[in-house]
Point group: C2
Chain length 235, copies 2
DNA sequence: TAGTGGTCTAGACCACAGA
DNA sequence: CTGTGGTCTAGACCACTAT
């Protein structure tokens, strides 16, 4: 995708770390060495290293060097913006998406205040893994940004469609994780096995021009929910 | 704390955004203008802007400018590394910490593999907000890194003590959020009101030289749990 | 075309760790 | 003292948006 030097350096170093060519606990070559290795300037090397640090691959220590961190606790990153399809495929489990609703609606005032528009698509889907319905996704898309949707797109991957077919760039989202009592709809569309609560992840997703375009409510069966995060202290 | 130019610029812009001197949806001055405003170079301005973007204050759009984002959904950031004391004070609610255990233990092999040491402090505390016990914290600290602890420190803030008294710098943590069935200990030390499950946040906390020094298991009452996050798509 | 942000450079000086 | 990462500069060229 990106065609710049620091990103190429970043990717090469990520590869070496993930393949354990450079072991956790050991150090990367110094910035000076990387500069010569990649025939580039130091600031460019540093951009790559800063990305590595941000994503939890290394810790930079002044006077010492860049220490490679153990990544094995991160192998299931729900963190960040990942579509269910990417997630399921990474897990290597058989998965399936069932589309329950796909319609145009006029959003509530609550939704309108979040998205800034009234004319929306509403999509309700459940996600099966190992033949159990464990996630219920309720999505709202702004119709002026997403003029077309159909069942096939929804059962495959809406994000794939929007990014590859329509060239839209998803950039960021704010999320909120809470636990709520299960609703009748949850009991109908999920295999709750008597569980009384569900984990609810709500998010507002934005494009790279900062415009909001989607509100999602993702309702997870308690016992199948897992969220991992890498948090860096900011001062 | 930090005494550098780009951080000062960052802080000034954060202030202006939080006080709404610059409204959400409008644009920051261009990098060129900021350069002259702060009498600095463009790369320095850009470092400040990148931090703003990373922390969800702005979205930079090529050819257009830096758009200020709406921050009102972020006002309760459990995200990142925040101590309970900071959190409780931000909420402005009466809070209290009860120390149940404070002892030296030899860690299990599981703990040892996570922390790389056997001799640990074990601290068990419950957290009361509005006079209800809603969080149970079980902490393990590496004894060689934290030679001394007492009840007073534990009931106030261990982080405060480690950072201000001992000059330790907490840098990053990996976290995992799941839901588990409540244990007898949970029922004893928390006001569960019959709830059968708790939200469990496990984390390994590292210092700025990348060494792990703490493992924490934080058990939250379902109905009081809330986690917010700002996620940026990385390519 | 003018203005914006994105990338890259070659150099400088500083703060810190370790021998 | 040497080597490390941290900050800062002044300039260059590019890609994109708007007019």
């Amino acid at each position: 995708m990106k065609n710049n030097k620091y990103h190429a350096i970043y990717q090469q170093l990520v590869m070496k770390i993930e393949r354990q060519d450079i072991m956790a606990g050991s150090k990367l070559p110094s910035e000076h060495d990387l500069m010569e290795l990649f025939d580039t300037s130091r600031e460019t090397v540093r951009k790559a290293l800063n990305q590595l640090a941000q994503n939890g691959y290394i810790q930079k220590v002044r006077g010492k060097g860049s220490i490679v961190l153990a990544r094995d606790k991160f192998d299931f990153p729900i963190s960040g913006l990942v579509s269910f399809k990417e997630l399921a495929e990474k897990m290597g489990r058989p998965w399936e998406t069932v589309v329950h609703e796909l319609e145009c609606v006029v959003g509530s005032s609550d939704l309108e205040s979040k998205l800034g528009e009234r004319d929306l698509w509403k999509v309700v889907r459940s996600r099966k893994v190992d033949n159990e319905s464990i996630i219920l996704d309720k999505d709202y898309f702004i119709k002026s940004q997403v003029p077309y949707l159909d069942t096939e797109i929804c059962s495959y991957s809406i994000y794939d469609y929007l990014e590859s077919e329509r060239g839209m760039q998803i950039a960021f989202a704010d999320k909120e994780v809470t636990v709520e009592e299960a609703t009748d709809e949850d009991r109908q569309l999920l295999d709750l096995n008597g569980l009384t609560h569900v984990v609810v992840v709500k998010s507002i997703v934005h494009l790279d021009d900062a415009s909001p375009f989607q509100f999602t409510e993702s309702r997870h069966r308690l016992d199948k929910f897992r969220f991992v995060d890498f948090a860096r202290r900011m001062k």
